[in-house]
């Protein structure tokens, strides 16, 4: 139990540190950006000094107040869309979560099925086909995969799955192949254990800690790939919002979204680590 608490505490600390680092970096970026603290209304001679000061304070908010505002949940307002960032995120989060969940599920299901089929059938042709498919997809930029998915009307979840599949499969294949070659699997096969029980009980279960670590990493990969996928598949999620904000140089939107993405990837790795420790005890 102490191991579990140690890992959880370390990961939580890392999560907090990451979010803090992103917050500091993002604040620096906002301050360094051209045009920071400037508002054309400051040049309006009809305005009183008090009004100009108020406009200036709004255009160049105090850094400390910004940082504490993010902690309180006040994420500021989008310059280009003229809407509170929190509202924008809550409108789009559902779409992105659905895309991420579906993409990850398809990629993992396809990888697991093909890897286990490859191990069970053990045909050179299937091995070569899997290697070629994964290698070919690895050479395609995520944005090109998204364009292809858009053309074939496959939707963002399939595009994300195609981006994740070769990466997940490459590592999962290595892990499962190593598990398949263990002596206890050979013993189980010689005793006539069926393919389902063999795959689940004797190969996947002992490999669960490594597979869980891979699951954590695959969430980070998916969070990165969701930006080109949603932008090019015209899916109104957070990825598309990030892209639009970058094109419009809307830093008040980019900053909290970067923090959110960092928090999500850290949380996914935290869950994967916690799960790994629990599974290690159980297995």
């Amino acid at each position: 139990m102490r191991d579990f608490a140690n890992i959880a505490a370390r990961r939580l600390l890392l999560l907090l540190l990451t979010v803090a680092a992103v917050a500091v970096l993002s604040t620096l970026l906002v301050r360094l950006a051209p045009g920071f603290g400037m508002d054309e209304r400051q040049l309006d001679l009809r305005l009183t000094g008090r009004s100009v000061a108020a406009i200036r304070a709004r255009a160049a908010p105090d850094t400390w107040r910004c940082l504490t505002g993010w902690l309180r949940g006040d994420w500021g307002s989008s310059i280009s869309l003229r809407q509170p960032v929190r509202e924008l995120v809550s409108e789009r989060a559902g779409i992105t979560l659905r895309t991420l969940a579906a993409g990850l599920a398809i990629a993992w299901a396809a990888s697991a099925l093909l890897c286990l089929a490859g191990l069970w059938v053990h045909r050179t042709a299937l091995d070569c086909a899997l290697t070629l498919a994964a290698g070919g997809l690895l050479c395609l930029p995520a944005a090109v995969v998204a364009v292809l998915a858009m053309y074939f009307e496959a939707g963002p979840a399939w595009a994300l799955a195609l981006v994740l599949f070769p990466r997940v499969m490459r590592y999962a294949r290595g892990i499962l192949t190593a598990g398949w070659r263990r002596p206890h699997v050979l013993a189980a096969r010689s005793r006539g254990v069926g393919p389902g029980a063999l795959a689940l009980r004797h190969v996947c279960l002992p490999a669960a800690p490594e597979l869980l670590a891979l699951a954590g990493i695959s969430v980070s990969l998916a969070a990165g790939a969701v930006v080109p996928v949603e932008a090019l598949c015209d899916s109104a999620g957070i990825g598309q919002l990030v892209w639009q904000a970058a094109l419009a140089r809307d830093l008040p939107v980019l900053v909290p979204l970067t923090m959110l993405a960092a928090a999500v990837t850290c949380a996914a790795n935290l869950c994967a680590d916690a799960g790994r420790v629990l599974v290690c005890r159980w297995v």
Binding site: S26, L138, P141, S220, P228
Partner: protein, 265 residues
Amino acid sequence: MRRVARIALLAIFGLMLAAEWIAPYPYDRQFRDQAHAAPSRGHLLGTDAIGRDRFARLLYGGRISLVLAPAAALVSVALALAIAVSATLAGGLWERAAMIAVDLVLALPWIFLLLAVRAILPLNTSPAVSAGVIFALLGSLGWAAPARILAAAVKSQLRSDYVLAARAAGCALPRLALVHVIPNLAPVTVAQFWVTAPVFLLSEANLSLLGLGIAEPMPSWGNLLRDLQNLPSLARQPWVAAPLVLLIVTLSCCHAAQPSVEDLR
């Protein structure tokens, strides 16, 4: 297979470096009366929407991608090597701090940061500066994964007999690092370079396809891929896919040409 991949890679690299002699026109010369032209003797891969020669842009674009991505990978791996060696040899607090920094950088969402940094560049940033900034960013953000692997390799070297003998003979830490540790890290370092360079090529392509990479009129393989956004026209103009084909061939060669650790020993 590895030899074929290396020869192909060298040929592509040589072709791109010789762009000035091979390309029939400068990459930004416009033939306004020949926009969207099909391949011909004058324009081997036709022309784009504003009449620029696609073949010339492919060669010059390849030069930018193929020179800057390995350069960024070199920066990343050099940073990783410096951090891994100094942190592991110094040990204690510095090592712990370096490993926390590695975890931190690995947890950062790269693409979000790249987009944020790209967004703060002034609108009048020149194409050359935008290209430099993109690859400098990639180089400075990509050190964490190689650093973790190199730190593990340094740790295993510190347990080896020759390092123990050198330390027992009173070898100072800088000399130990320069003479005994770093030369023996060459296989892992070279392998990390081969893994990192294709990742940077892909990252640049993704950013440029989103319109946030290298600014026009400077070509790169990434921004040449933007023509693929009009996929229905690809059936009528298959030559538009030439940058994608070349990118896939180059990346496949990079993967196939990666030397194994045994090769480097």
